[in-house]
């Protein structure tokens, strides 16, 4: 058949003799042989073990104390009370007593913990409107449909903050009391600085209005409060007017959903300016006065109070040091085996 080809010189179609096209780029060709790997293994084993030991020592210097108050002490009656939904509007206070044996040195953090509360259910997690909480006016009155069924209240008013997450905000409050030999002293807690800086200052904003003289209540006019809340969002913190609305720190802390059903969230930080807490929490008897509101009985949940100190390395977590120690030993073992094999077979 036909032989039609454009012959623009015999060498016109000669391939380039470039290193790339001829697959001859200069290259480094490492091989995973025993000789190259073994020094690394021994080095890594040493580093891991040393790091593990150091971390272990660090972790030993941190303290943690958990007090489950679900129906401990006088909270039992509150627990029973919260079983009945009709009592939701009645307040209930109780006290739990505990003892600290060793002084908690340094900064002490006060957490509340929930067991078996699934903050990570898909429908629950999606049920929020970040656009609303970022202060977009459009979303304030017209929240995302993801917030269903917590989008509008009975009167048809848009809920602010909408959604299941905000609606289920943890609403127990605590007062930690130190019982020294002489007196009964309320442990001072900072209730601020418990959120990420960026959350407090960027991610959560109250709706922006041009008229700066408006009070927060006026800004939120035309919105309803979440169904299970007893106070509107602009009235969450009666003591600090600047801690209200979407930038309320407890709300922000709650809105960062936990990854697992057992979690704890920061409630306050010990104010070390006042005696006798300058060194931390002294050993002794303590009690927590609890305003018991949050019902956990329906989902077999539990509530607890956690007191903890941290190192540079965070709270008391033995996993990392142990994991490093185990890994270091494992690598050492493997290295020894490899050396033996190499000695026997490769030489």
């Amino acid at each position: 058949m036909g032989k039609v080809k454009a012959n623009a010189g015999p060498l016109a179609r000669r391939p380039d003799n470039s290193a790339f096209k001829q697959q001859r780029l200069p290259a480094w060709s490492p091989m995973l042989t025993a000789q190259t790997v073994l020094p690394f293994f021994y080095g890594m084993a040493t580093v891991c073990v040393l790091l593990g030991v150091w971390l272990l020592v660090t972790v030993q210097n941190t303290h943690e104390l958990k007090v489950d108050y679900t129906h401990a002490g006088s909270c039992d009656k509150c627990f029973e009370k919260r079983k009945d939904r009709a009592n939701a509007n009645q307040s209930c206070n109780c006290t739990v007593v505990f003892n600290i044996e060793n002084t908690f040195k340094g900064d002490v953090f006060f957490y509340y913990g929930l067991i078996n509360f699934h903050q990570n259910l898909r429908q629950y997690m999606d049920s929020r409107d970040d656009g609303q909480m970022i202060g977009r006016n459009k979303n304030l009155k017209n929240p995302s449909s993801y917030c269903e069924p917590f989008m509008k209240d009975k009167n048809g008013l848009p809920i602010a903050p909408c959604g299941a997450v905000a609606n289920s905000m943890f609403n127990d409050s605590f007062t930690l009391v130190y019982h020294s030999a002489a007196s009964r002293q309320v442990v001072p807690l900072f209730r601020k600085g418990i959120t990420w800086y960026t959350d407090k200052n960027v991610k959560f904003r109250n709706p922006q209005v041009e008229n700066k003289t408006l009070t927060l209540a006026q800004v939120f006019e035309g919105t309803g409060q979440p169904l299970y809340w007893q106070k509107p969002v602009y009235d969450l913190d009666p003591w600090d007017r600047n801690n209200n609305g979407f930038i309320n720190e407890d709300l922000i802390v709650w809105m960062r959903e936990a990854a697992f059903p057992n979690f704890k969230k920061l409630y306050g930080v010990l104010n070390r300016a006042i005696e006798p807490f300058t060194e931390g929490l002294p050993a002794g008897n303590y009690s927590v006065d609890i305003s018991y509101n949050f019902p956990v009985e329906y989902f077999q949940g539990r509530k607890e109070v956690v007191l903890s100190t941290v190192s540079w390395f965070g709270g008391q977590n033995n996993f990392l040091p142990i994991a490093y120690l185990v890994t270091g030993c494992l690598i050492l073992l493997l290295a020894v085996i490899l050396t033996a094999v190499w000695w026997k077979f490769a030489l």
Binding site: M1, G2, K3, R13, R14, P15, N17, K21, Q23, L25, S29, P30, L32, T33, A34, C48, F109, H118, N120, L121, R122, Q123, Y124, M125, S127, R128, D130, G131, I134, E148, P149, A164, S168, I194, W196, T198, D199, V202, K203, Y228, R256, E257, A258, A259, F260, F263, L266, P295, F299, G314, G315, Q316, N317, F319, L320, A323, L338, V341, A346, L347
Partner: protein, 1006 residues
């Protein structure tokens, strides 16, 4: 009348291409997922699967469209090839596609026939023409065709006789009905073995996916059995949701499917397509496969089969034009045991010719020796060569006498051309030399006893000017020697055998002088036989047998159909690489066998088993199988390719042979042989290589078809998957490119599945902690971009430029090819290893992060992290681990590898910083805001990430080192060989203080 071999037209491209693409199980699956996401409420948005799917479909469509467009262009060049048509007494030039049945076509010398034709007349007075049918059946010899006698004189009537050497003919079949087109097989899409394994793996993963979804759905309902879990007070459903509880189970199942659908990698298909498409450029760019003479390099027609080149088990090669140059050359002759090589032959001959009946020869003899005289006389007389005149030169003047051969010879036997040409050469050297006296003798050609393959000889009877009757005979040694009564048989035989060892084609020449009485008798016998009405062939054979006897041996000639450069080396390498080479040729057995010897396909020591037509009774085949199952080689004259029963036996025998030669094969028979092997129970990968149109059907049938861009037109090259200029290029094509592409794509496929197991399995585990609520572990952006950008480029680059071993080593050591034979890198154990590694890594990622988080503070300021930080931590470990795993597998670190691997990790970090760095306008969720930065600001996160990556990579490193030390493969040994010297020094250095040990170590290493 239009010839076509493309798949699409402009109009049906979109629907047909879409249909073809969605027939692919993976694409169809993604379409389903996409539709499900559109319809029901799923954890991820439809964009996450719609975008990649759109991308895949578009890229593939563009690629296929481009390749089809190239085919269109090639077809056009054929269909628009100009043709001279005779219409109403004038010559009209049209395109070949416009030809219709019944048109009268004029074909000039050396033109290609546009269609099947009936010869009406030619410029020769006797109405003959010489036709080569190379593009049809591969035979390059000239065949004489006679015009239909009734129309022989048409040329004068139609007044086109002014054109020399033209053939007028009427079109019988055109376009797709031509013999050539009918000899084709329909072009179907070839799928490579890798693609088949890929589909098998895909099905496994589909099963895993479905079972994951089913398990999770069941567990979800088991977990939700109690009402407080089904709908706790903090997570009320909407009224609409409550009503839909009937279909909720099903939508839950679908939602899980969507959540886990990433385990079947969308982008794998794009990456594989891109790898194949871009990777094929390296073949086209290879300057080692560029031929200076032809000015072309290798050509890739289908990039789908790159890796199949690394899997070939059977190579079916054409002979003429593929193994050989298709160019005969006279090497030497032997007269009475004296060997003459060209330019030293002291004999001058001149060949003259006046048509096929008369051959007159002017013989100049410079040597008195009678036998030499007779020998060259025999060569001059005993042939069927025709002299073809060059049209441009005045026909009276013979170029020979000017010392410039302007006439050349055509014959149905290329050997004869070579012999006669050589004799002409002798004249030229002779005229310059010592020509003293020229004795012209004139011979009258009386009878030609034509060649046939049973006798394997031919004879002529001539009458010399002195009135002597002479019979010259020329033929294969086996057919001449038994008939020789005198002459130096032993010396000649020794020479002939030696020539045959060298792979030359030998012919023996003998003569017998006939007395007038004997001549009369033979004439009588021949005429009787020729006129016989019954059993003419048999009687002719008997007559020939009677006449051709009592010879005096003159000598032997040796002609070479020169093998292509490095053909023998290539075949040897292919065999060392574990491939079985079969030669399928249309030629006769002797010629083909000689080539096989020359190309080292057969060796002197190999045992030859011949299966010819006469022996193909079933019983004898069985015997053969029973007795000679150890046979190394067999030949077969295949007729009709046997019935079902024979087929099995044939297959059984031939599979036990190291090399097979099949002769007298029609194009379709070649394809049948290939099909037969393809269908055998191991389903070996076959490769067919050929240069002519007669090889096209075999090229199309084989798994990989390679065309040689040779003399016999470009049909084969066009229909092949790959076209190379010379046979020798096959070596680099298979041993280097094939091997590398296979290794690359095998890693690509395994790695893709691995990285997606690592990706999705943590998500599956997370369901156990989030109440089976289909909560994704990773952010949407991560879900979408993981396969598209975070981990795609390193593996794509790896699959393009990885060279686990240097090209030189691959070429030097063909046995390395065996390391990847039989799809060894994609077998189930390897697949299982990768999958287990993936599962192990996924567990490490998830549970490592889980225990790290374990309800404790993660920062030094006491603040807590949420679920997105957890997901990001897992994802970070994931991205780093899978990328570093690839880095561990990379043996060839060019600057591009460094750039892409470290660059892609850097890109992940930068993207995450950016994605979490600002509040995104227009987006309704800001869940990733500052998550990544917060994570990086925590010490334990860093320590955890490093630890988890280390643990994840550890088993693979240990496995690699152990395997390399204990059971190194040939490839690994070759890799070590490269650095042997360095190792030697290292080993000596390490052990220098144990002197005896060191001695031992060095000695062994050295």
């Amino acid at each position: 009348a239009v010839f076509s071999d493309y798949n699409y037209t402009l109009w049906n491209f979109i629907p047909k291409n879409l249909f073809e693409q969605f027939r692919r199980i993976a694409n169809f699956y993604f379409l389903l997922i996409f539709l499900v996401q559109l319809i029901i409420d799923t954890p991820t948005s439809p964009v996450t699967s719609g975008l990649p799917l759109f991308f895949v479909i578009t890229v593939t469509a563009i690629k296929q469209g481009y390749e089809d467009w190239l085919r269109h262009k090639a077809d056009c060049s054929i269909n628009e090839c100009p043709v001279d048509m005779v219409q109403q007494g004038t010559v009209v030039r049209t395109q070949s596609s416009k030809l219709r049945v019944g048109d009268v076509v004029m074909v000039r010398e050396d033109e290609t026939f546009p269609c099947d034709l009936l010869l009406l007349s030619s410029s020769h007075d006797d109405g003959t023409c010489y036709v080569t049918t190379t593009s049809l059946d591969g035979e390059s010899s000239h065949k004489t065709y006679y015009a239909v006698p009734d129309t022989m004189d048409f040329k004068t009537e139609q007044k086109v006789d002014s054109l020399h050497a033209t053939i007028e003919s009427v079109a019988i079949y055109t376009g797709m009905d031509t013999k050539m087109a009918l000899n084709y097989q329909s072009k179907s899409q070839k799928r490579s073995a890798v693609e088949k394994s890929m589909n098998a793996f895909l099905i496994v993963y589909l099963c895993i996916l479905i079972s994951k979804a089913v398990i999770n759905t069941v567990l979800k309902y088991a977990w939700q059995w109690s009402v407080d879990r089904d709908e706790p007070w903090y997570n009320h459903r909407t009224e609409i949701d409550r009503e839909r509880h009937v279909i909720r189970a099903f939508t839950d199942f679908l939602a899980f499917m969507v959540l886990f659908n990433y385990i079947i990698p969308v982008s794998m298909y794009v990456t594989v397509e891109m790898q194949k498409f871009l990777g094929s450029y390296f073949i086209a760019w290879d300057k080692d496969m560029y031929d200076e003479e032809l000015g072309v390099g290798a050509q890739v027609n289908t990039s789908d089969l790159n890796e199949e080149l690394g899997q070939v088990e059977y190579v079916f090669t054409d002979k003429t034009g593929t193994l050989t140059e298709n160019n005969m050359e006279f090497i030497e002759c032997c007269v009475d045991g004296h060997v003459y090589i060209p330019h030293c032959v002291p004999v001058c001959t001149s060949v003259d010719q006046c048509g096929p009946v008369w051959t007159s020869v002017c013989l100049c003899s410079c040597v008195s020796q009678e036998h030499e005289d007779l020998f060259f006389r025999a060569l001059c007389l005993c042939h069927t060569v025709q002299v073809k005149e060059e049209e441009t030169v005045d026909s009276i003047k013979r170029g020979i006498h000017l010392g410039k051969p302007t006439s050349f010879y055509i014959s149905s036997s290329p050997d004869e051309v070579a012999l006669v040409e050589e004799n002409v050469q002798c004249i030229m050297s002779g005229t310059k030399g010592v020509v003293s006296s020229c004795v012209c003798s004139r011979f009258e050609l009386l009878h030609v006893l034509n060649f046939d393959s049973v006798r394997r000889r031919m004879s002529v009877i001539v009458k010399s000017s002195s009135g002597e009757y002479l019979l010259f005979c020329k033929g294969a040694d086996t057919s001449i020697f038994p008939r020789v009564v005198s002459g130096k048989v032993e010396q000649v035989r020794a020479r002939v055998e030696q020539n045959a060892v060298e792979g030359l084609r030998t012919l023996c020449v003998a003569y017998r002088s006939l007395s007038p009485v004997e001549y009369e008798e033979t004439c009588h016998q021949l005429d009787d036989a020729k006129l016989a009405l019954q059993d003419r062939e048999q009687r002719l054979a008997q007559a020939y047998d009677l006449i051709e006897r009592d010879f005096t041996l003159l000598g032997a000639t040796a002609v070479e159909d020169r093998l292509q450069e490095k053909a023998a080396d290539t075949i040897e390498s292919l065999q060392k690489a574990g491939m079985k080479v079969w030669v399928l040729t249309g030629d006769k057995m002797e010629t083909a066998a000689a080539t096989c010897y020359a190309s080292k396909l057969f060796r002197r020591s190999t045992q030859i088993l011949e299966l010819t037509k006469k022996r193909t009774e079933e019983q004898s085949l069985h015997d053969v199988l029973f007795d000679l199952s150890r046979t190394v080689l067999r030949q077969r004259t295949l007729s009709g390719s046997g019935s079902g029963n024979y087929r099995e036996i044939f297959l059984e025998i031939s599979r036990n042979c190291s090399a097979v030669l099949c002769c007298r094969m029609a194009p379709l028979q070649k394809a049948q042989i290939v099909k037969l092997i393809k269908a055998s129970k191991e389903h070996p990968i076959t490769l067919a290589i050929g240069d002519g149109a007669n090889d096209v059907s075999m090229i199309l049938e084989a798994h990989v078809g390679i065309g040689i861009m040779g003399k016999e037109g470009r049909q084969a090259a066009r229909n092949s998957d790959y076209a190379i200029p010379k046979f020798k290029h096959l070596k680099k094509m298979l041993l280097v490119h094939g091997h590398l592409y296979y290794v690359r794509i095998a890693e690509l496929v395994q790695y893709f599945f691995y990285k997606n197991v690592c990706f999705i399995f943590p998500q599956f585990l997370y369901q156990f902690f989030c109440g089976f609520s289909q909560q994704p572990l990773y952010d949407t952006a991560y879900l979408t971009l993981y396969n598209i950008s975070f981990t795609s480029l390193p593996i794509l680059l790896y699959s393009l430029i990885e060279k686990h071993i240097s090209i030189e080593t691959l070429k030097r050591d063909p046995t390395l090819y065996r390391d990847v034979a039989k799809n060894s890198l994609l077998r189930w154990p390897v697949f299982l290893y990768w999958t287990c590694l993936g599962l192990f890594n996924a567990c490490i990622f998830f549970f490592g992060a889980y225990f790290l988080f374990d309800n404790t503070t993660f920062t030094s300021n006491g603040q807590m992290f949420g679920n997105w930080t957890f997901g990001t931590l897992v994802f970070t470990v994931l991205v780093f681990t899978v990328t570093l795993k690839l880095a561990l597998d990379t043996h060839h670190w060019t600057w591009i590898n460094h750039f892409v691997i470290w660059g892609s990790l850097l890109f992940y970090v930068i993207f995450s910083l950016l994605w979490g760095g600002i509040i995104w306008p227009f987006l309704n969720y800001q869940r990733m805001y500052y998550v990544f930065m917060q994570m990086l600001s925590s010490g334990p996160a860093w320590l955890g990430i490093i630890l988890l990556i280390t643990i994840s990579l550890l088993p693979d490193v240990v496995k690699k080192v152990l395997c390399r030390t204990l059971w190194p493969t040939a490839t690994e040994r070759a890799q070590v060989g490269r650095t042997l010297f360095r190792l030697f020094i290292v080993a000596c250095g390490l052990l220098s203080h144990f002197s005896s040990m060191a001695m031992r170590g060095c000695w062994i290493l050295a």
